[in-house]
Amino acid sequence: GALVYQYPRRTICKSGTSMRMECQAVGFQATSVAWYRQSPQKTFELIALSTVNSAIKYEQNFTQEKFPISHPNLSFSSMTVLNAYLEDRGLYLCGARNENTEVFFGKGTRLTVV
């Protein structure tokens, strides 16, 4: 079956430092990967959409300078939160799909900033 492994599941970082999270697609080719953030008590905001062989598209309020993303092949993507502050805390999810199919989500990376 199709699965997306996301790690780490939880991380704590000091204010002003950076952390990286990764997603691995298993059982299908991840032609596109979307990264979302769920802030406390809120819904999922799209950060950026990465499609193989296309430029990564960032949503308003999110930039490559703050959330650099790598999508080097059809099974792996990573995103870094640079210079994290309190407002960056939340649950980060990656969702991957092959073309126009169901999206498979990882279990999320919960970021705490102290």
Binding site: S32, A34, Y36, Q38, T43, F44, L46, L49, T51, S54, L91, L93, G95, N100, T101, E102, V103, F104, F105, K107, G108, R110
Partner: protein, 111 residues
């Protein structure tokens, strides 16, 4: 503006009762996916629909095939383990687009 409106925002059901959640879209959508988020934050995919209806046990989902502007999730004979937050996510009919999430329905099933 917001394109996925989900209702109700919160719902309390007694065990054994039925209910329905709904997502309205301000524009035509290509597909919809329903999720339940558990207490640890993980999203569990319930249904993915490009049209029509799907059923799995006590859950049934429908996506309006004509205008493609709303979807429903029906819960029959609610059980305690159905508690959680339910999200719909819909996709615009352009290639390479992503899913836009609704604001969620927090469901609590009580004895």
């Amino acid at each position: 503006g917001d394109q996925v409106e989900q209702s109700p925002s919160a719902l309390s059901l007694h065990e054994g009762t039925d209910s329905a959640l709904r997502c309205n879209f301000t524009t035509t959508m290509r597909s919809v996916q329903w999720f339940r988020q558990n207490s640890r934050g993980s999203l569990i995919s319930l249904f993915y629909l490009a049209s029509g209806t799907k059923e799995n046990g006590r859950l049934k989902s429908a996506f309006d095939s004509k205008e493609r502007r709303y979807s429903t999730l029906h819960i029959r004979d609610a059980q305690l383990e159905d508690s959680g937050t339910y999200f719909c996510a819909a996709e615009l009919p352009n290639s390479g687009t992503y899913q836009r999430f609704g604001t969620g329905t927090k469901l609590q099933v009580v004895p």
